[in-house]
Amino acid sequence: MELPKQKRTGAVIFSEYKRGDAIKKIIIMSREDILFELKESKLKGRGGAGFPTSTKWMLTAASKSDQKFLVCNADEGEPGTFKDRVLLIEYPELVFDGMVVGGYTIGASHGIFYLRGEYEYLLKSLHAYLDEMRKDNLLGKNILGKEGFDFDISIFLGSGAYVCGEETALIESLEGHRGEPRNRPPYPISNGYLGKPTSVNNVETLCTVAHIVLKGGQWFSKVGTDKSSGSKLFSVSGDCEKPGVYELPWGTKVSELLKLVEAKNTKAVQIGGASGMCIPKSQFDRTLAYEDVATGGSVIIFNESRNMLHVLKNFIEFFVDESCGQCTPCRIGNVKLLEGVEMIQNGNFTFANINKLKELGKTMQVASKCGLGQSSPNPFISILENFNDEIFNSANGGNHGK
């Protein structure tokens, strides 16, 4: 089935761009110049963790090695996130040009594009696109005639593991092992794929980079807020008239976004996917930004008719399924949280027990090995706290989170 394409507009990513523009620009720039522009832009990684891209690339560039790798992380598995799908179908030029820029900057000649198994239907068009780039000498040896500028991209297909979006788990699976996260440090910037310095970047980050090197770091940092520069793609789904991908500047209020997508009778918004937080109506004036509600871009909207306990159960079931099972807090903790939700559903719980489980959630946040277990208690804690009345007191005239 062909997924529909649409005309999009936005301040950065959806602004005008032609294939190869960024590559034509960088062949006359030094690596220091590119790093300087990125530093000026204050771009932070768009996968969710928000690590400054210029710092990551500077450290990878500074690592001494005969071989380095640039990995594009297209393993978006967070529930409610689909921006990478849109970028790969409608804007492959940005993704792959961004990878070439990254490879040039850190000194890698091999880029690996890690595509999630669920997106296998995109594989054919992506291969065809890369072939076209090779024909135009935007990939391969001596790119655009620049002596010694070699870079090529291979596509690696994941096999349906959410945890492989974590960069060290992703590298493990690239190497042919179980996708279990590694202890950090060492970080991939010094010991990554096959032990070589590796930079793992999100699809959206690389797309943004292509625009930044073309138009300058200052142009980019003018958009957004002081601490969160630029714009962000939001994947909006759930109860609204116009679900889809929107590019909005950081600092946009939740209520503004709801208006834009024509959401009505909204009770709650889950921001940042299953591992994010659920905010009730009273907090809709909060802003989407690293300094307030940070997110990888997933926005799921719930209207008044939704049962928040059912929503919570869906999220926790997801984590029980997707925990890699390597560390105890995550493997057992998520099962315990699910048991707690089921107890509440059956009306067979004690508040003492539920409070213990909230404590357990806080323990998981500090004791888990990777981001999965560190963030999986977020919906449990935020939904039980913000929708306390609906969940525990509704039989006694609760106000349903209003």
């Binding site: 996130t81 198994g117 096999s159 349906g160 190497e175 042919g176 789904s237």
Partner: protein, 157 residues
Amino acid sequence: MLVIEKNALSEEIEGYVKKYGSDRSALLMILHEIQNRDRHISEFVQQEVARLLNIHPVEVYSVISFFAFLNSNPKGRNLVRICQTISCDMHGKAGAVHAIERELGIKVGETTKDNKFTLEYANCLGLCDMGPAMAINDQVYTKLTPEKAVELLSKVK
């Protein structure tokens, strides 16, 4: 399995090893090719892949057991996966699932008697704006209704 079938299979695996290399880093891509073809990775295949990559067969099994899209037990010829994550759930996943279950006469997680379909749940397929979504093998279908879901299955050979 007949010796002649085994030989043909070995040859095919050798072809994949030639294509992706004999380093361990080629393992997942090789397994993926076989999974796509046979819908499972048999013990014989695991041993052959291990031999060609020079690793222990149980290492191959370990990797297969980790990933949701790889399996060592046989499945039906066509794999139907319905997204169970929240956005698809809210837009009526359950109706589509029940319709398919009724039509095929199996529950989620089972395979039809004629070995034509295996029905499974999947976690987020990344089609949340067009839910409920379903994947049949590597193709995806969106905005399912119970009727549409069944109709799509009837077109599968």
